[in-house]
Subunit: 213 residues, 2 copies
Amino acid sequence: MLSHELIVDTALRLVGQHGAEALTVRRLGTALGADPSAVYRYFHSADDLLLAVAEELIARAQHGWRATGDWRADLREIGLRIHASYRAHPQAALLAAHRTTGRAHEIAAVEAILGVLRDAGFPDPEAVRIYHAFVDQSLGFAVLDAAALALPAAAQSADLRVWHAAYGRLDAAANPHIAATAHLLAADMRRSGYPFALELLLDAAEARLAATR
Amino acid sequence: MLSHELIVDTALRLVGQHGAEALTVRRLGTALGADPSAVYRYFHSADDLLLAVAEELIARAQHGWRATGDWRADLREIGLRIHASYRAHPQAALLAAHRTTGRAHEIAAVEAILGVLRDAGFPDPEAVRIYHAFVDQSLGFAVLDAAALALPAAAQSADLRVWHAAYGRLDAAANPHIAATAHLLAADMRRSGYPFALELLLDAAEARLAATR
DNA sequence: TGTGCTACGTCAAGGGCGTTGACGTAGCCT
DNA sequence: AGGCTACGTCAACGCCCTTGACGTAGCACA
């Protein structure tokens, strides 16, 4: 017996276990032990299923989160949770991160973030702008990082090798700045740029809050 | 007579005119007046073609750019150009933004950005970290904004309406922060969050630079 | 001028994908 | 007992990427 919940869970598991290309209606059907077309009894289309997956990702990111009263720590935690949740399911994240679902868990997340900012003392217009920058930055990095993870294994290792192979052997006269930092670049590009970018955003927000007072 | 250049240009035009789904080898072949398989004489795979498209987007973003010596202005200009270039071809951006091409124009862009940061006085490790955050922030927002633009018109207006329809009519007791800022949210979410997020990043970088000295 | 090689494009096919509508079938309500 | 509904299957349509065998036109060189 199928259900919305079982299908969404199976879709996420499929993506988590078999990576990139696994999320197709046909394979989903096989994983469910049912005919692929049975999925259409529960979701109007693959896109409809995707919105449900997006909502589930948001739910998992928020699960168990509590405000501590320290707005920087709270925002950092939310950001890292969103980032981690989407990275855990790269293929789904790629397709789902830019959709506005308007459903319960998304609403709860918006309310939580706005609450942290307004309680911290940001005036409403500033709170909204920072909310917007914060959310889209988190999702943007999540999509970018998820996309890298979702690549076929061949393309993925090729992308990484480029930083050593192509950038490590450039003419120092033509590209002095790359040549001077090639080893730092190769090391840094292996990690996500998100945590550092998040700290920069929090730094800038804090400076603005101080200036407001 | 086909050529790499003709195929890439046609691919971009195809995507610009007919949307995301138009970029298939079959349609590309038709648009070129040739058999789809002819494309494989010039590109190893559809993925290979994609990298060429990505490279072309970078080239267009950088075209005509010159450093002014004002690092904030220079970085801002580069960021806005990248963002604009990808937004001009949303469907291609979606597929290409997260790829590392390792080719000429990408290398030139990396060299330019690192140059601006190092000439501004950032120590090498800091320059690399800020480079990483800056580039991925720009690309991340570009992908997110491109994704919104690439949606079918129906889904696009539906996503926007959600901010008025769903978020504008929530119970004020259950979601006080959304209720208090609903009008600001609806207005702000119509625009890209990138310009403001970029200023935050530049603010934070400047503060770090001042602290270094 | 004739021969052969190369670059280019075509053709046909294989295997995967989302989606649909007709078709059974099991369980429930009356 | 009859009928209705929910659910899953089946077969098919049309799209997709990719491949290998096949022509063909033009050039290099004898």
